[in-house]
Symmetry: C2
Subunit: 247 residues, 2 copies
Amino acid sequence: MRKIKLIISYVGSNYNGWQKQKNGVGIQFYLEEAIKKATGEEVEVFGAGRTDAGVHAMGQVAHFNTNSKIDAQKFYYAINEFLPDDIKVLSSCEVPEDFHARFSAKKKTYVYKFYASEVIMPLFEFDAVRVNSKFDEKKAKQALKFFKGTHNFKSFCSSNTSVKSTIRTIFSIKLKRDKKGIYSLIVCGDGFLYNMVRIICGTIVEVGLGAINVKDIPKIFESQNRNMAGRTMPAKGLTLQKIEYKE
Amino acid sequence: MRKIKLIISYVGSNYNGWQKQKNGVGIQFYLEEAIKKATGEEVEVFGAGRTDAGVHAMGQVAHFNTNSKIDAQKFYYAINEFLPDDIKVLSSCEVPEDFHARFSAKKKTYVYKFYASEVIMPLFEFDAVRVNSKFDEKKAKQALKFFKGTHNFKSFCSSNTSVKSTIRTIFSIKLKRDKKGIYSLIVCGDGFLYNMVRIICGTIVEVGLGAINVKDIPKIFESQNRNMAGRTMPAKGLTLQKIEYKE
């Protein structure tokens, strides 16, 4: 029995999220079906991050166990044969028995894309979300430093969460603007609570719009009250970019 | 009677091209319908470039005549009210009576996007086309200089064209690669023949793949035979980026 690690990319807007859902199948299901067709085995695929409906992935990671003799480095070819064009495995390799896509992850990077415009930009709408044209980049950037480090992020997660601890560490958080005017909020952390990146981004956007005063961010943390933070940005602006493991 | 100029962006993959088609409506039709709803007038909208089905636009230009009293600078708001989210007017202004979106155009810029990969990259596929991973950027770049300047582009247009002259001028042609690995072929010229950008891009890609020898490009021009040039790249990689007029 070998353990295979996969790096996967998908267009989230076409699917109902990573996980099997009560009201439909998730991306996980498509992978399990494709592996079944490639190997004849019924496998369970474990993903590193359970992306919501609409959230994209550039570098989702998953693992599964197999008795198949397919070369680990070439396994992704065999799986891709049976996947639609908007879900593809980018690479595959064998990993030690104690590797777990979710529990072994050390760093996760998410990117949230938005643009500030009074008009909808049709070609930006595929994976970026429009905000009010009054958005002030300099103001927004003043908010970034408050999120870096180890904090209790209870105010920045959706309340329907059942995790034991709401303490997380953000290693880096950057806001970049490309030539076209699309902003990318790039957040790297040890893990994220439910909707955490989308709520942090919403809070930073509201600071940029003047709806939240940057000085009030420490109070928002202290309140441990989700209603104090900014809006939850829509799913389609979010991409799970990268997951890193111990060397 | 005033003449209004519009700058328009749209997602080409959702439509059957710019022009009214025998087998369906074009983007032009959506604009005419939206203007009718905004002004009550039946107008004809004249576009600068008749983009094919699947081709995107970031800066298509069009004009129409109106007796409406809507402020020219704010006209686009009124039109956008009645347009779907994947077609939007980005700005509007009044132009002199002798302005014509198509015939007054001095420069047109198209961008063709592609990426070289052995695997389909789901998040690139919205507006970029995959080519073989053996693509060699340096080799491809050697081909660019042959296209710059005034030439007879008969070998680089689809044969079902009925234009009088196949002589066109390319002012600049560049190939850039972004951090993600997506190539943009940016071509600025005084006008383009049917499928010309897509065939030039196909020829440059084939030079990069070693299927066409860069030394043979002058012979391809001389032959005036479309079959000598490279493949016609798919529509979805092409974007009409910008149209420039005399100051």
